[in-house]
Amino acid sequence: MTTSTTARADAAAPPSTTSSGTTGTGSRSTGTTSTHCPYCALQCAMSLTPTLPTPSTPAPSTPAPQSQTPVPGIPADGAGPGAAASGADVAPDVRPVVDVQPRQFPTNRGGLCQKGWTSASVLRASDRITTPLLRGADGALRPASWDEALGLVAGRLGALAAEHGPASVAVFGGGGLTNEKAYALGKFARTVLRTPNIDYNGRFCMASAAAGMNRAFGVDRGLPFPLADLGGAQAVLLLGSNLAETMPPSVQHLEGARAAGGLVVVDPRRSVTAGLADDGRGIHLQPVPGTDMVVLLALLHVVWSESLEDVAYLAERTTGADDVLRACAAWWPERAEGVCGVPADELRRAARLLAAASPARGGRGAYVLTGRGVEQSTQGTATVTAAINLALALGLPGRAGSGFGAVTGQGNGQGGREHGQKADQLPGYRRIDDPAAREHVARVWGVDPATLPGPGMPAVALLRSLGTPGGPRALLVHGSNLVVSAPDASRVVERLRSLDLLVVCDTVPSETAMLADVVLPVTQWAEEEGTMTSLEGRVIRRRKVLDAPGEARSELWILAELARRLGSTVDLPTDPAVVFDELARASAGGPADYSGLSHARLDAAELGAAEHGTAEPDDAAPGGTGLFWPCPAPSSDTTGQGQGQGPHPGTPRMFLDRFATPDGRARMTVVDHVGPSDDVRDEAPVYLVTGRVLQHYQSGAQTHRVAELERAVPAPFVEIHPVLASRLGVDDGAPVRLESRRGVMVAEARWTDRVRPDTVFVPFHWSGDGSVNRLTTDAVDPISAMPEFKVCAVAVSAVNPSADDPADRPTAEIEPSGRDRTPDVLSRALTSISATPPTDAGART
């Protein structure tokens, strides 16, 4: 990125904090505040400048998604019901307009994608919920006061707990919540509700990576190294990650590997990211969906059989290598080809490329990175383990300039899994079944350890149990739009409907909020203070620039109020800085130790860096760009790094000396391929893979409310290979019907050879007829309990345009192959047989 001379953030501009984050009084300020993007885990740095609109230039209002059913009490004209119901003094049309500018930071290097640039539009969503809503006897939601809403919720929760026990109330959190909220939610569930049943949507995205890394390394931090370290590597193996669309500015860090021809992308689709390996910049391996594990086993086989492994590293830093290497002897490349569909010689080439980049063989370093594509699988933990085994065989983890990592997805997907909203965890990434951990956390919380519940059900099991005999009868949802983002979504809707009480905290009338008995309006992103932990384990500050509209409140306040009304004596502070300090104490001595951090320290370090005018913030200037955990307080510091030298500097690179296992060695574990839970069969002969587009984020609750993004990608679509499409009579641009064992969807067909002819791809950001999660399976990984979003079997058919209801149409049978049925359109679309065959497979695509 040396040629950038453009509007990317000026490197010389220091991060400004003129509306100093801790005061939280930004609504009238015209100053600029340094914060981070509301979306993905890259957490691009940005500067927000609110300006009050003048009467002559009315502020733009972002329309509600057209597909959204009008909600009683939420007029679409921008004047929230709060104004009418409670006489709120801040109406949306006089709220400041917020200008977004990118900011230099080691991760985004001054870049923003379209979502980031337009992120302020979400602050002005015209259907923003500005007052509590209660479902009335007529079935409609109506505005209510906080007192009425909280009184109702507390009363019903109390009654349910009294009648059916504390486990009858469940909590569902989110990976987008700040560290403070995630922590408070876990504490609320365990101390106020005393329910074991709390889990979160991170179970859908990070659980397999977490389980794999915990098992191998003793701790799970997605990237145990700064993202910018990738830049120096000679090779990067990227498995199941389309980061060029999901976190575009991160692509800058792949330039070094691309220049060396060393970017290896494993993806059943030729995604935008896979395209980065074109033109000699690397290799794209395009396996059959659900067989990434086989690719990894074959790569390890080649490394082993050709003696390319790091012998000294395996001997000094690992255990279990012998068994793992013997097991991979059964996966020679030709056998692997038969299962994964990747030519044996491409597997050999990729393995040799990675080995040549490894430090042991004199290379400049290599990284192995996994994403949701391989993790959202019933063998996700095993696949992550196979990737780790490969990285360990090459001697990469715990070495500067090389490593293994999982590319975390959600904004606070890292922090969200550390602070106790996970069914089996307490803050600090402690295990809830560990007596010492319970003792420590209970002391911080001021409760008897015996009163803390044990492990609860992981997300899919929790959702399945809702409203069933013995299952939870009430659910509190925070920061998650389950109806769109959970697998087998129709069943989720059915379970939510069977509850006695569904309470959803949200900013907008999301599909899940629309099912709720009580909707509580909450603050978002630029309306609140807090911290996020990025994909690198870097703890950074989220800052407030304006007040929330209407009566929207922080979840910290809501939880404290509910606790009070439920008669709890547990202290639930509402000031994010205070919550963080408590979180830090609770995490002290745990794997994810934040005890050396505070809002004040993070702010001071950033201000200090700004005053010193650090032109190109990097990790050589600790503090200016957040701090990496573990960052223990001197009293809990067992790393020795901080002792006698002031505060602990944080840990940008983990495992350099030892892994966090009892013996300090990384554990290698034998894994083998099993295959998808819902594999293709005669009735459903095509693989369905799901994913994302650049313009939308998760369930789209935010991005569908940004006009520019909606214009760019207004509707779901089905990527289908022309060979398959023509066999089925599905024209380019015509509606196509997909049916799995669980459900049906219809969307527009998009012909492309980016997908294999045995596979269709659908992005999952939509609800309704185009919701692909109606089709996905909720079969889960046996270790991580993560559902298999990424692969299932479907029947694909053309939609009869005369029929109206897609769900009522019978599935068209696949026609037998006609002997003289080659549509002209297909013939045009396909190249004729080439006169000279390729000399190698790579030339063909």
Binding site: T3, T5, T6, A7, R8, G110, G111, Q114, P248, P249, V251, V272, G275, L276, D279, S305, E306, A330, W332, R335, E337, G338, G341, V342, P343, D345, A382, V670, V674, G675, D679, V680, R681, D682, P685, V686, L694, L724, R727, W751, T752, D753, R756, D758, P782, I783, P816, S817, G818, T822, P823, L826, R828, A829, S834, P837, P838, A841, R844, T845
Partner: protein, 585 residues
């Protein structure tokens, strides 16, 4: 060496520990032990394994890679079960089976009682009946065992000329491998083309050409008539049939015999079990003469025969382990109810196959063979009465580009229900054939195109829908792409230039002409192009230069600013690999 393995404590006083004896510790026998342990969970089990070879199990398939120098001989050892319920007796062969007392007698004098006996004795190399081969002279080797591979590799250090006898898969791999080591190699094969069982003549000719390019002297239509031995060491081979000179002698210090295999059936034969080519077994893999005795792998002859492929042996291993485990579990339940009786034969059990999942939190994950797992769980195909084993018969030549599966070569018989489409392209070293029936691929042959071979294998093993016109299977299909834009002039307006911010060439042009932008900075400010990952910066700079050149009067006053921005911004755009929809990234 104890005669019996230690029997772990049973779950309940009534639960019995099923005793399983496995004869043979090769690829299939060792895999079967893993499969059975996997399915048995933590329940009581006592497995005794007798392995005549003194080694740990190794990957026999890779022996040709060892010969070729592609794999290290020390690195083909396979995982073997480490479980207190398993006793492996390495270097101990079985010499007899007493079916009355259900006991296997070993060559070290020990006896091993069984409830279930599994024969996985494999097969031995067939040594042709030729003058000069009895006794086997120095320099002549089969390629069947680890020792064979080691000796061949040792021989390549001194030999300069080698002859491989037999042009099947193994012979072809060995010949190419020895040639890769620098030896002058002749491949002698009696049929007119190599691998004639799997490959039609046209495909075989293309493969022969590949071999010739690899440096192999392919002698098809020729048969060895005599092995010439001097001083106990081979020095040549006399040929018969299609020879260059009458009584032609091919010089060789190394002869590799790849003349097929003979199933090891002696033990079964002596025990009075039905033996044909191999040990006769039914669909349930049990001997029709004794339901407690099973045979799997190369030694077995199931209905429909065996091709000697490891995928078939592993598929049998998995199926037998599943049915035995189900039978044992049934016995457990009977025992638990206290109605213990004689153990029914577990081998003939039926029931749905279970899609294997790992037990939660297990540190010992599955060793299940994927290939065939899904297939066997499907309903049997047309007219099938036994388990569907399709997908286990893919033959792929290592080191050369040739693969055949299903209906191919000599297995191709006229069938009105199927359709065969062929691409015969010998000049380019390519030959592809697909056989389609009922809308799925039922057979394929592919020589000389590894990408297509991989795709065909995936389509064949998974029965995914084939194209309306099967001809589309013969080549890689590519969507039409716009020719790479050689200049911004020819680039369509709709082409996405900056993907991160969704900016098209048309957007850039509009902001120049209508928005008054006059520099890359202006364009970036107006459209946000270049402000994501920055990967499109060169392209945007090129388009800005083109716009400036197209309207010089407008650009003059801004040229200085642009110059300062750097040399790159005013160079012509590199011709980028434009796909239809983007030039960015």
């Amino acid at each position: 060496m104890t005669p019996q393995p230690p029997i772990p404590q049973a779950h309940s006083p009534q639960a019995r520990t099923p005793r399983v004896v496995v004869v043979g510790h090769g690829m299939v026998g060792s895999r079967f032990v893993e499969d059975l342990l996997q399915r048995r969970g933590t329940a009581p089990l006592a497995v005794t394994v007798l392995g005549a070879e003194g080694y740990e199990p190794y990957n026999r398939v890779l022996l040709s890679d060892v010969v070729a120098g592609r794999a290290d001989v020390a690195r083909i050892t396979l995982a073997s079960a480490r479980d207190p319920r398993v006793a492996v007796h390495a270097g101990v062969g079985a010499v007899g089976v007493d079916r009355t007392s259900r006991c296997v007698l070993a060559d070290d004098g020990t006896a091993h009682p069984y409830d279930v006996l599994v024969l996985a004795t494999g097969s031995a190399a067939r040594i042709p009946d030729l003058p000069g081969l009895d006794p086997l002279p120095a320099g002549v080797h089969a390629l069947r065992t680890l020792d064979d591979a080691r000796e061949i590799v040792a021989a390549t250090l001194t030999a300069t000329r080698a002859v491989v006898v037999g042009g099947g898969v193994l012979g072809v791999e060995a010949a190419a491998g020895l040639a890769a080591r620098g030896l002058a190699v002749s491949l002698v094969h009696g049929a007119t083309t190599p691998m004639d069982r799997q490959l039609a003549a046209g495909a075989g000719e293309v493969l022969a050409a590949q071999l010739a390019r690899a440096g192999v002297d392919v002698r098809t239509g020729a048969r060895p008539s005599e092995v010439l031995v001097h001083d106990g060491h081979v020095h040549g081979l006399r040929l018969d049939g299609h020879t260059r000179t009458p009584g032609e002698v091919v010089e060789a210090q190394l002869v590799v015999l790849a003349c097929g295999t003979v199933p090891e059936v002696a033990l079964a034969d002596a025990a009075g079990l039905a033996v044909d080519h191999g040990v006769v077994v039914g669909h349930d893999l049990a001997s029709p003469d004794d339901p407690t005795i099973h045979a799997i792998g190369d030694c077995a002859q199931p209905p429909g025969g065996s091709q000697g492929l490891v995928a078939q042996g592993w598929d049998q291993s998995r199926r037998l382990a599943e049915s035995l485990a189900e039978g044992f579990a049934r016995d457990d339940r009977v025992d638990a109810r206290g109605r213990s009786g004689p153990s029914p034969s577990p081998g003939d059990t039926t029931g749905p196959t279970v899609h294997l999942r790992l037990p939660g939190g297990s540190d010992r994950p599955s060793m299940a063979v994927r290939l065939g797992t899904a297939l066997a769980s499907r309903s049997p195909g047309r007219g099938g009465t036994g388990p569907t084993t399709r997908g286990t018969d893919v033959v792929k030549v290592k080191g050369l580009d040739a693969v055949a599966m299903g209906v191919c070569g000599t297995r191709r018989t006229p069938d009105p229900a199927s359709r065969t489409v062929r691409l015969d392209d010998p000049d380019a070293g390519r030959w592809v054939e697909v056989v389609v029936a009922d809308g799925v691929l039922v057979g394929a042959t592919c020589v000389g195109d590894p990408r297509i071979a991989a795709d065909l294998t995936a389509a064949y093993t998974r029965r995914t829908p084939v194209p309306a016109d099967p001809a589309h299977l013969l080549t890689a299909t590519v969507m039409p792409t716009a020719a790479p834009a050689s200049s911004p002039t020819t680039m369509p307006d709709a082409t996405t230039v900056c993907r991160c911010n969704g900016v098209s060439k048309g957007d850039l042009v509009a902001c120049w002409h209508e928005g008054g932008a006059r520099s890359v900075e202006d364009v970036a400010r107006a459209t946000r192009a270049t402000t994501g990952c920055g990967g499109c910066t060169e392209a945007v700079c090129g388009i800005v230069d083109w716009l400036r050149e197209a309207s010089p009067e407008q650009g003059t006053e801004f040229s200085r600013e642009t110059d300062r921005a750097g040399e790159k911004s005013i160079t012509a755009p590199k011709p980028r690999p434009a796909r239809a929809e983007t030039v960015a990234l």
